[in-house]
Each structure stands twice: as structure tokens, then as C-alpha cells.
């Protein structure tokens, strides 16, 4: 336990020192990795802990981002109000979409996919409000009172602090009785039901919390990206979030961030010399499913079990 705490402190120290060690390109990329890692973490609350495969998390992400951007850019609302409003809007949406937990399995996958398309369609077609294809541009860096973020490096620290706080809260959540109940539902819903747990309410609350985290990621994203367009709400974003969680390892906290790092570094690297990045992404999907369904964290766990002589 103390070893893990030490490791965590060391990792945080490195994360805090990184901007002075690497160039601005990497600082920007790392910020992006943390934001999408957070989105992947939110999807993994459902996937890794409740066993529900959601394909609509880009919706909360985008609604939060659009709300914040529209308030801040068009109505001149300050960050102190626009950011919470964005998170609120995304979370309210998740209260509605959370009714999807009435379904299971393939129906849940397909209904959330359709939900995601509604939001994408509205963002794309309702051009008078959302700006259509062009979206909302010229989002400023966040500023609260006299505190003003001046550049990518400072924003990196804002995102780092937010991500660390959320990861800690997330840890409390998944080790709480609530989190353990979710795990129970994942491994056997009928058993939990017969033990008297209200399965539906637990899944509903988990869905809303998941939407809340995705909304926070959305607000962090809009201040990072400085503009927002319908691409953020599109199906590939939801899908990539789930893939990141799976590549890194579902049911863990580090996994989604690892997965986000792998996918985004891969994208940056491949795009440099190969035009057809999506094909590479597709191959990553296929390889992951066929050869590493438990992700990187699963491989690590297997390797450690092997070292202790527990491996089969």
C-alpha cells in the first residue's frame, strides 16, 4: 500500500515537472490525453463496473462543451458561471438518457448509439443555434475573477488538478458500498436482485454519475480546443472513449488514461506519415478484441501473477 502511495506521489511529481522538461507540443498532447482519459474513465464507470457498454458519451461531452462555449462566446458569461452551466447541462441530459438502463446487452448498446446520434444530428442540423458545421469558435482561455489562464502550460496544470481530484473521488466511489454493488450487478444481476438490491436505481445513478464525469471532460475540452463543432458529438468519439478504456484495461482508474495515451500518441505518430489513420485505429480494435481483451492492465496483471508463480 505504501509502495503504491509512493509511486503515485512520484508520478504526480513527474507530471507536475513535465512542462519544464518537454516542449509545448507534448504539453498540449498530454493535456488532450488527460481530457480524453477522463472521458474514457466516465464510459468505463458503466463498462468496467456495471457491465454496460455505452455508445453515447460523446453526447454529454459535447452538450457540456457547447453550453459552455455558447454562454461564454455569444453571451459573454464568465467562466465561473459558464463552466458549471456546461457541466449541469450535460448532467441533465444524462438524467434523460439514463432511462436506457431499462435495457441490457445488445439493446443497451444500440439504444445509446441512437441517443448519441440524436445529439450529433441536433448539433449538425440546428445550425442557427449551434453554428452547424463551423460550430462555435474563439472560445477564450478560462478566467475566474482575477485568475486567468495565460497559455497551454498553465491550462495543463488546471486539467491535471481537475483530473487528479476526479480520479480520487472516483476511487472513493468505486470502493464504496455503491461501487461494490455495481460490481455485484455486473457479475450476476439476478443474484443481486434476489439479495434485495434495487438494481435499476443503482444502474440509473451510475449512468448519471458517468454522464457527470463526461460533462466535466467536455468543459475541460472546450477550453483546451478553443472551439467546438459537431465532430465532438459524433459516434467515433463515443466509440474511441470505450476503446481507450478497453485498450488500457477496464475496471481500473489508470487503464482509461493509459489507453487514451496509447491511442492519441498513435494517432499523432501515424498521421505524420500515413494518410489513413482510421484504418490503423480499426486494426487496433481488431487486435485488441482478438489478442488482449483485458487490455494493458490485464496483460500487466497476468504478467505479475505469472511472476508470483500463480499463472496457469
Amino acid at each position: 500500500m505504501t509502495a503504491r502511495v509512493l509511486l503515485l506521489v512520484a508520478a504526480l511529481a513527474i507530471a507536475a515537472a513535465l512542462p519544464s522538461l518537454v516542449g509545448e507540443f507534448w504539453v498540449t498532447l498530454l493535456t488532450q490525453i488527460m481530457i480524453f482519459g477522463l472521458l474514457a474513465l466516465s464510459a468505463d464507470l458503466l463498462l468496467g463496473h456495471a457491465g454496460l457498454f455505452s455508445l453515447c458519451h460523446a453526447a454529454f461531452f459535447a452538450v457540456a462543451a457547447y453550453t459552455t462555449a455558447i454562454l461564454q462566446v455569444r453571451h459573454g458569461v464568465s467562466t465561473a458561471l459558464a463552466a458549471p452551466a456546461g457541466i449541469l447541462a450535460g448532467t441533465i441530459l444524462s438524467f434523460v438518457f439514463a432511462f436506457a438502463v431499462r435495457t441490457r446487452g445488445v439493446y443497451f448498446i444500440l439504444i445509446t448509439l441512437a441517443f448519441g446520434y440524436i445529439i450529433w444530428g441536433v448539433a449538425y442540423r440546428w445550425a442557427s443555434f449551434t453554428g452547424g458545421d463551423n460550430g462555435v469558435t474563439n472560445v477564450p482561455f478560462p478566467a475566474i475573477g482575477g485568475l486567468r489562464v495565460a497559455g497551454p502550460t498553465q491550462y495543463y496544470y488546471v486539467v491535471l488538478v481537475a483530473v487528479v481530484l476526479i480520479a480520487l473521488a472516483y476511487r472513493v466511489l468505486i470502493t464504496s458500498p455503491f461501487g461494490l454493488t455495481l460490481r455485484g450487478i455486473k457479475s450476476s444481476e439476478s443474484r443481486m436482485r434476489s439479495l434485495g438490491y434495487d438494481v435499476g436505481s443503482h444502474l440509473y445513478v451510475a449512468f448519471v454519475l458517468s454522464g457527470l464525469i463526461a460533462s466535466i471532460a467536455g468543459v475541460l475540452y472546450v477550453y483546451y480546443n478553443r472551439f467546438i463543432n459537431p465532430v465532438a458529438a459524433s459516434f467515433p468519439v463515443s466509440l474511441e472513449a470505450v476503446l481507450m478504456a478497453i485498450v488500457g484495461g477496464t475496471g481500473t482508474i489508470l487503464g482509461p488514461f493509459l489507453g487514451s495515451g496509447i491511442i492519441l500518441v498513435l494517432r499523432n505518430w501515424v498521421s505524420g506519415f500515413f494518410h489513413y489513420y482510421t484504418a490503423v485505429l480499426g486494426i487496433v480494435f481488431i487486435v485488441t478484441v482478438l489478442f488482449a481483451p483485458q487490455g494493458i492492465m490485464g496483460l500487466v496483471a497476468r504478467w505479475r501473477a505469472g511472476n508470483r508463480g500463480e499463472g496457469a
Binding site: 431499462r102 435495457t103 441512437a114 442540423r125 480494435f285
Partner: protein
């Protein structure tokens, strides 16, 4: 100066009514196309419990192949045949070597087949580029014809309705009136039992899968002649097909027929009356339906 209010209202009513009728035919012709794609998806799900998200990409690739064949040979019929058969071969390899090893895990199936769709989509982009392409319509289907009531309507779309309807009837007969259909229906209800009676379920699966693939490729060619073929079209059409099977009920042929008609009409009227919210018109009712009946109209509880 101004026409009397009664006359202008009559004029409005007249143009509105012809709009209603035109959109109904638009909706039904889209329904015919969606049925071709959705029937394959729903049958393979019903029989093999496979969620194959690559059907959209099958549609697009089939369409592109049809486009090239039609350009070279000028034959629409040959285009349909080549588009369909290419997808049969491709679908066989995807089923046999990628989907089968992972078993009945829907999550893994979705991820894997989306990966396949991404690869196919990028290959198409590399070969056919990013422009909007359209399969050449055979001369005898070009132009419009007059419908009773004085409306002009493209012949091709009417032909599509005929094709969709006859495919639906043939599939229905195959499914309900033949020996193969009986075995497939038995397989949908209880695969192990069918296997135990000595029927080669593997061969049956391959047969249904080949039929579904052929329909997807065929849909791409006939759809590519009135919708355009372009990168991203595979997801647009797949999502519509998914709504069809969700509304109708996964695994049900009747559901695919009814679902196609509902989705086709909702899409046509949604685009016409509420263009900014047409996706909402399409997905909203579906979401409400699913909340009350999670398995769709004809779906069976699992």
C-alpha cells in the same frame, strides 16, 4: 390584387397534399432500400447472435464495386451481381476468421466489426477517393413517370419499391414456407436442439450469412444510384438500418419489414417538416418505444 383567402388556402392545401404524397413515396422507397440491409442484419442476429456493425461498410464497398463495374461494362445487372458477390466472399472471411473466434460476446463483436468497418472504409477512400459518386442508372429506369393524380415521380425510385417489396415477399416465403426456412426458424429459437437433430448448423449459418452479405452488397449498388456513395455514407445508412431492426425487433423478419416502413416514413417527413430536428423525429419515437418495449415490436424476450 390579392387572391381571395379561400383560393390561396385551397392552393396551399393542394401543394401540401401533393407534398404529403410525394414524401410518402420517398419514405417508402427509402424503406425498400433499408429493408435490403436490415433484413440481413436481423437474420444473422437472430440465427447467430452476431451484431455485425460492418454491414454499413459492406453496403458502401458493394456500392463502389457496382459503380466501377457499371462504368466499365455499362451493365447495371452485372454491377449488382459483382457488388453482391464480392461482399459474399468478404463476409465469409470476416465471419469465419474474425467473428467466430470471439464467440457470443456482443461487446467484443461490436468493437471488432466496427474495426473491420473502419478498415473497409479507409480502403474505399484510398481506392475511390472522397468525392460523391453515383452508380449509373440503366436507361430504361431513367426519367420520371406520371402517377395517377398528375404527380411526376422518378421511375428508378418506383423500381426500388418493387425490388424491396419482391425481396420481402421472397424472404418471407423462404422463411415461412420452405424446409430451409423452417430449420432457420428452429435455429433462431433453439440452436442446440437443431444441432442435436443432426442438422449441420455451421452450413446453415454460412448460407444465411452469405444471403445477408449479398443483400448488403446489392443494397449498396441500388442505393448508390439514388443516394450518393461517399466516405461516411456507411455510418449514415447503418444507423438507419439499426433503428429499423431495433424498432422492429432484432431477429424478426416481419419486424424488419414494419421497421423499414416506419423509419422510411419518419425520415422523409422529418426532413420535410422539421429539417433541423429530423434526427430527433427519427430517434425520439424509437427511444420512447424502447423504454416501454425494450425488444422492439416483434422482438422476443431473451
Amino acid at each position: 390584387m390579392l387572391a381571395p383567402p379561400g383560393a390561396s388556402f385551397a392552393l396551399f392545401l393542394r401543394s401540401f397534399m401533393s407534398g404529403v404524397i410525394l414524401q410518402a413515396i420517398n419514405g417508402i422507397s427509402l424503406a425498400a432500400l433499408l429493408f435490403l440491409l436490415a433484413s440481413g442484419f436481423t437474420l444473422t442476429f437472430g440465427l447467430m447472435r452476431v451484431v455485425n456493425m460492418a454491414y454499413g461498410a459492406y453496403y458502401l464497398l458493394g456500392g463502389y464495386i457496382g459503380y466501377s463495374v457499371a462504368r466499365r461494362t455499362g451493365s447495371f445487372e452485372l454491377a449488382i451481381l459483382c457488388g453482391g458477390l464480392t461482399i459474399v466472399v468478404l463476409g465469409f472471411f470476416v465471419d469465419r476468421f474474425l467473428i467466430r473466434p470471439i464467440g457470443h460476446n456482443h461487446l467484443a463483436q461490436v468493437l471488432l466489426t466496427v474495426g473491420v468497418a473502419f478498415v473497409i472504409g479507409e480502403v474505399c477512400l484510398a481506392i475511390w477517393g472522397g468525392d460523391n459518386l453515383r452508380v449509373a442508372i440503366p436507361p430504361w429506369l431513367r426519367g420520371g413517370m406520371e402517377l395517377p393524380g398528375g404527380l411526376f415521380y422518378p421511375k428508378y425510385r418506383l423500381a426500388l419499391i418493387v425490388l424491396g417489396t419482391s425481396t420481402a415477399i421472397l424472404l418471407w416465403l423462404l422463411y415461412h414456407k420452405t424446409h430451409i426456412g423452417a430449420v432457420v426458424r428452429a435455429g433462431v429459437d433453439d440452436r442446440e436442439m437443431v444441432n442435436a437433430t443432426g442438422i449441420n448448423v455451421d452450413r446453415l449459418f454460412a448460407l444465411v450469412s452469405a444471403l445477408a452479405s449479398f443483400l448488403a452488397g446489392l443494397a449498396g449498388v441500388v442505393g448508390g444510384a439514388f443516394l450518393t456513395l461517399n466516405p461516411g455514407a456507411e455510418w449514415d445508412i447503418l444507423v438507419l438500418a439499426l433503428v429499423v431492426v431495433i424498432v422492429g425487433g432484432l431477429g424478426s423478419l416481419e419486424g424488419a419489414i414494419l421497421g423499414s416502413i416506419i423509419v422510411g416514413l419518419l425520415d422523409a417527413y422529418g426532413r420535410w417538416l422539421l429539417p433541423e430536428f429530423s434526427y430527433f423525429v427519427l430517434f425520439g419515437p424509437m427511444a420512447v418505444l424502447l423504454l416501454f418495449r425494450a425488444t422492439g415490436i416483434f422482438g422476443k424476450e431473451q
